[in-house]
Symmetry: D5
Subunit: 148 residues, 10 copies
């Protein structure tokens, strides 16, 4: 069984039980819904305990629970650039603002990168009379190029 | 003169005068340094007034100032995916979290996208004893698929 | 079950029952045949009620009807550029007129884009003695780059 | 001199004289601004007379005027898919609606294509209290696959 | 059932019955073997009557016959450029002579294209003492760029 | 000097003198205009004598004439697939009919290819009341896979 | 059944019977092991008689034997460039020496190519105290560009 | 000065002096013409002495001679796969026979590769009444995968 | 059965038995865990004896054991560049340091390469109070370009 | 002036003065030759002091020295995968051992990556009677996926 097949099975079970991602996240453990959704879509790992909680909720067997605790081969996009409009807009931000992020982060922090590993993220609804907004807050550790 | 040539000229002038992006942004106008940096790197437009302020600061001629007020052909990455590590990490976030953003935004807002046009962004330093962090806050209007 | 598998099942049912897209659209609800055809080909969503109507018409089960109400991973072309001649001609229009659209829309509206989300479209037959013509009318909200 | 170099020269002259595409189109001849803009951006041809009118307006020499009457090597996008957001939205429409156009045009007309050669197009502003809209009307001759 | 699966089934039936493409073409109807071979390989359509003739000859069911009357998603090459030497040689002709065709067709006919839709083709053996030759005659309607 | 630079120079000279490809071909020698046009566009070679005739006609120097007698690095398309509509139609023919050509040539001749080297081609206008047609006749030696 | 599936079946049978390619080649017929190995890997054809010999040796049925006598869709590499190191080294030779082969073959033979169709090849072990060597001898007919 | 610019200069000098690759090779030193041609085309290195001989022959300066003694960034093909027919045929051999070479070399030598570094090659004319042939002999050291 | 299917089966067995790569390596033979892991992931070969040990440990049959002794078609990455962050970092090192390795290895050793075949590697944990480090030691034979 | 142009100028100066990378590194400062070579090839930064030392050594002006202290747009390979054999071997290691590195590092350290930023490397000659070896030692901090 591949991780993709397991994700498909999880999506089917979620649909049949009429659960939302947030409901599943609450039933699994205390970390963020982003982390749990990413894990169930094959991009992150669950702890042993979280995987057991999920297995109970969705009716997975022990082998499937174990699979969710192993680091997956990451990368969730079938094509590059992504064809789905919602996801493409993020790619477009990289295209339009990539060099700007580089210029301003390097000016503020020196030569290095923002970590995508020691990294945290939140998605929130921002109420607005002109139309609600999606608010995404990212926080990644700055990692300077070390010299040896 | 292409926009790329103008950006190269601006980078040279900035280097010779020893100015930072933030200093330039303050001299141009009241909008965010992200917007101004993106404009000078060929991805956004300046207003007439801002372009005159910049021209005065860096010694550009009128033609060059006008060029900065015209919408550029956007897209700042020489290769896809981007080879530069700082910019690649953002691409990696799209790879790893793209389907998660899609799942959670659609669960919260319904079928639609986060606009990359009616969009705002901030970059901040987050002090942290384990190592300072880069904090990026994005806010984009949610646009539902309309039916006619 | 993936959305592609469901689209294949719908195409088979349509063929066996000898229904046209327009007949199916009329049986589903009041929106445009373009919207419904796109939904059945895996690119748009149906409302709960529309999906029930479709399920009744084509003999789908409840799970399949639910699947049609969820936002799909969009993108209907197996290769880029598309190899099918009918679809390629539209790609060719983007190749030939893309920069012209950009020039004229920006001249009329300022810096921004035509939305592909708040977007409407019609396809009509235009009778013509020299050979009938395909008339496509698109209307998308203009979205200016906002400044914050 | 290549066609790209000539387009760059034309853009510079347009900018220096402060002319709009519509003003230039009116000065060249009676065809649509889309056609003329496309020609000046290196995608269409001008007639002899139109090229002379343009040369007078912008100060081109005879050789340059002649170049504009020759069919160019068409294709105006530096990358595929296009990185510029305004142009990408049209590519996205092909991605999302390509198979729908195919289904509905073939249902109405039989096996064939909409010509991108015997083709006409208009761009209009559609006033709307919720935000003005871009209206694009395309009309292309239907060409059935002929049998011999 | 996809069109590819049907083509595979047709190839198997052809092989088991020991039929040539020409024998099949004669049994189907009066059009050219090129048209019929292309249809059976998933690139063209048959008429209702032709599809019935084929079904009788090869033992296809009614659903499969119907599938052959629908416009397929065209494009027969698994990679671009094609890896098969026979087919690659045609791609090489486009590479070597493409700009020449453009120059000479435009000189003779003006700005436009040779239609690949209103198009006819023949393949013949040309006997030759130095080695027989493949003779391919193509005839496509010239379509001038129309102005509106 | 590269072959591309020489082709650009030849195109400029042709334009300034107002010569057609056919007039140039007649002035160079007895072979076909296709061969000569391809040579001038950097895809074929001229004989010593032909290159001298051309040099006289267009005012090239001896070095440039020599360059035209050397086999060029062939391949005239800046992108694959080609973006120019006239040339793309030929690529589309390979996409649509490639497997058909393979099936029918192999049925008639056995396993092998049509040579693109021992190859001849003609382009003719075919008068037709419904619109004139482009007639292309290709003749290439059949080369069977040899066994040793 | 596709040719790939048949090759997989042949590889399984070879493995189960513990046969080498050379043993299989000797049992099939008098041509070279290269030809036979290529045919069994889906790149060349067998004669009727050879296919019967192979079927007897490996236990294939008549349909499978017939399939081996038909020209396959050639091209044995899943990616370009090939990821397998042994095969990549040959690709590297084309990268490094391609322009040298062109220069020297054209100097010796004039404008043309070495045929990959009327082509023969041998692979031999070359004993050498510093380490044995692989010796590959290729011989292809020179084909000059013909003029008509 | 890049290696490409130097190769272009060498080609110009060779053309003006009317020298063949073999004549140049003989004047440079005792190694094979393949090695020397590859070096002059930017793919191999010359020894100090050879570079001086070449500089004398073609009128290069000391800096240029030095450049030829440095390992170049190898890779002589502007596109992959190569568009030039002579070079493409070699690529086609890799496509058609790549897996066969792998099967037979591994059967004879075990798991490993033929070196493209400890490698030798010869190109010869093979006279033949049916048409002369190009004979290429390659000999590369077999390198087994070592275990540690 | 393909090598990929066998690797999937091995991963499943490993997971069910709760074995680590190191435990498996110790049970197979005396070579490094890197070699054995690579073999089980379809990139290297086992000896006859090692394959029998593995079959006993994981419950594979004789055919599967044999398959592991045959050279695989190497290349373990589904996309290039690799989307998985852990593997991408190595690709990034090639991007950032590739030309530096070339410069320094050639300065030290002359023109040639580091073998990826006569090659050895170790991965170790390097304890460090600021965070443990991954230490990778590679040792490959230097292979100079030989002249003949 | 771009960083590429500066690297080219540095390479020319190095060649004219007959300096090795190691000599330059010693003259610049106390860090490793790998770091300095990478900086001069446009992939790393120098400190203010190091850039002044280099400028003195090679005769650069102040502007050029400043440019070397700014983070470059990283990525040193003109094509992917790299065509140069020395660099390709490293890419091949990623292809062959990428999934093995992933398996063993994750087994030892848990889910995370080896940093390519907090990273150190050494290249050494390993004397060996069978042929000297290139020894590369890499040490990168392990970064676990953090949970928030």
């Amino acid at each position: 069984m591949t991780r993709e097949e397991l994700s498909a099975k999880i999506l089917d079970a979620k649909r049949r039980k009429g659960l939302s991602w947030k409901q599943i996240a609450e039933a699994i453990g205390p970390s963020s819904p982003i982390l749990y959704t990413a894990a169930l879509l094959g991009q992150m790992t669950l702890t042993k305990e979280e995987s057991v909680n999920l297995a109970t909720l969705l009716g997975l067997d022990e082998f499937e629970a174990t699979l969710l605790t192993e680091p997956p081969y990451r990368g969730s996009l079938p094509t590059a650039p992504p064809s789905d409009p919602l996801i493409y807009r993020f790619y477009e931000l990289v295209q339009t603002y990539g060099t700007t992020w580089k210029a301003l982060i390097e000016e503020e922090f020196g030569d290095g990168i923002m970590s995508a590993i020691d990294f945290d993220m939140e998605i929130q609804r921002e109420e607005n009379p002109k139309g609600d907004r999606v608010r995404i807050t990212m926080s990644g550790k700055f990692l300077p190029y070390k010299r040896y």
